[in-house]
Symmetry: C2
Subunit: 347 residues, 2 copies
DNA sequence: TGTCCGTGGTAAAACGTTTTACTTATACTA
DNA sequence: TAGTATAAGTAAAACGTTTTACCACGGACA
């Protein structure tokens, strides 16, 4: 590999001059500038990354810590982050914490376990001297990832930061629940069942709160018996569908597509059909929802939006002096209802 | 950040000693060793990455170039690679080339475009001085990614290397086609339609060749009219299903699950049902295939296997002296038929 | 004439490791 | 006893940049 020193010799100048030409920190006469540039181009010289990193304090690398790459939300978020950073001439380095147990189909929600993986991940990134860190969660909740006195800019993506210092980017669950209820009411439904997520989950609570607000506004009754709590998995959709149908609801709002698929399972087994015998709505717009029969009406979470928004903020923090840890700021990315065939208008 | 020098002062020894304790290159008396280790632990000292990289030639980083992170095959492959590398104390750095056009739902298969993205990606990784590079393709074909005289170990994952030097890891398409045909024949089918991929595609050709071989062995007729070429997308499954059903086949082997979903679309529209009116088999075992009704029997590609196998090989190249570019070696990872409800036994 | 300033350049220090070559003390051998 | 080997440790060089402090020169100005 050719070094700056060799370039300097070829041009008959000092290395300082080469450095100045390349970084533009100081003026260099046009003549030498051209000479240097020519040689650099001809030789294909590339500054040694480590020497640079050692000298400057900046590395132009943004570290990304993902809770789990396998989780369906992660790739699109991370892809967008990487793309944006690349466009802004930042590199990214990704650490995958593998917190999702694929076989058990469940998160390691043991906080101790998380911390025991997170700590080395962070210190690894710090030792590489990344300029900033983005924590990409796999499911929304309050997550304790950075200490209050964290040394470099950091933001929390797709979850709420526990520390009241850090900016987080989340989806607007409240509005999501609200919109879906409005929509179902606008389709004439007045007995709307809900297959919610786990009861103590943040998503669940916020969506439900938005949901109730919309019902109230629409003067449609809210009945606690029509709300059942599942575990986000297909099986619970199946089971709770039966319970709700017994309650004679005309529509079911499932808080994720996975559970909606479970409802479809139940309908299929009982010779019923979504959008005819009962209306079904989902949440997430997972890939599968377009493949269900009939195709599932659902609330799309735009992971790309989340990714872009977070990356923008991060870059802003690194260039425009946006302060990521001044005080908690929560950026909400809206959802969007994708109307397909599983909700029918009644009355 | 605490430096080696400070540690040295605290321990009352020289930096060389610290280095020797940490790297174990030379013997250090047990007493000082312990003393140093204690201080290191207490202070949480971490060697500066850049200083290390500058001094040694090795960085313990493996570069991963992904054609597209969004492609469904990529995350599981990459996840496994990262996991294995991490276990073996290697870091990874990922560059995503974004070669898949999400909106057009198609690959940028313009070779020039690919090269124009690949070249900077490689030179970026080289400038970071990664120890090795893994190229993770998004769909199998012959790919021209590394020059014959490439400086560091490199392998091609999920595609065939154009250069006859590099090891590649691919799925065993021939066996995949063979197994599926065997299976369908064993279920009593003798008029088997095929919805193949694009005609010139490597996957298509190999699977078809395996397929024909099995038919021959099973003394089941092969009729070119029963083989139709699609474009891997849902729409072509829909269209070709109609054509094949008109030919009175009893089973259709689709070369991916996406097209199988298209077949399901057709059946649904015409009041037919897979596994009852006709048998359908897919390929890939995408997530959706378990959600189709009835669930799709398909040939699973184990992306995890591919990831693990490639990572193993890569690490072996870096430690045991396995030579990645001695001569083309093609590692084939087998598929596995996942029996669900879309193929019925006849006769 | 002397002072000041701007321009274009350079030498050398600094960044934090690893490694080489050297030192000292002690034990062993002939 | 002299010589040699071994063990434990250190000083200093080296890695390739960026940056600081300094220099030389020429022109403008009082």
């Amino acid at each position: 590999m050719i070094t700056q020193k060799e370039i300097a010799q070829m041009c008959g100048v000092s290395t300082s001059t080469i450095s100045n030409v390349l970084n533009g920190k100081r003026k260099v006469s046009e003549a030498t500038r051209q000479r240097v540039l020519d040689v650099v181009k001809k030789t294909g010289y590339q500054p040694n990354y480590f020497a640079q990193g050692m000298r400057k304090q900046k590395t132009n690398i943004i570290g990304i810590i993902a809770e789990d790459l396998i989780q369906f939300s992660s790739p699109p978020i991370i892809e967008r982050i990487m793309a944006y950073c690349e466009d802004m001439h930042y590199r990214t380095i990704l650490i995958n914490m593998r917190m999702y147990d694929k076989w058990l189909n469940t998160w390691y929600n043991d906080e101790k376990k998380l911390q025991s993986v997170l700590k080395p991940a962070i210190s690894e990134l710090l030792s590489i001297k990344v300029d900033a860190i983005m924590y990409v969660a796999g499911h929304a909740r309050v997550v304790n990832c950075f200490p209050d006195d964290f040394e470099i800019p950091a933001i929390v993506v797709y979850a709420y930061s526990k520390s009241p210092k850090f900016t987080s980017i989340v989806i607007d669950d409240e509005k999501g629940g609200y919109d879906m209820a409005k929509y179902l009411v606008s389709m004439g439904h007045e007995k709307i069942g809900v297959i919610a997520g786990t009861a103590d989950n943040l998503h669940t609570r916020k969506r439900l709160s938005g949901f109730r607000k919309a019902l109230k506004e629409g003067k449609v009754p809210y009945n606690p018996k029509w709300v059942r709590y599942g575990d986000w998995k297909r099986g619970s959709g199946h089971q709770l569908a039966e319970e709700l149908i017994r309650e004679d609801v005309t529509a079911i709002f499932c808080m994720n597509d996975e559970m909606a698929a479970g409802v479809y399972d139940y309908l299929y087994e009982n010779g019923m059909k979504a959008g005819e015998d009962i209306s079904i709505a989902g949440y997430d717009n997972m890939e599968i929802s377009g493949y269900l029969k009939p195709a599932l009406t659902t609330n799309e979470i735009s992971f790309s939006q989340i990714g872009i928004k977070s990356a923008e903020l991060m870059i802003k923090a690194l260039t425009d002096g946006y302060e990521t840890k001044k005080g908690k700021e929560i950026i909400k990315v809206p959802c969007r209802i994708i109307e397909r065939d599983s909700v029918k208008r009644i009355k």
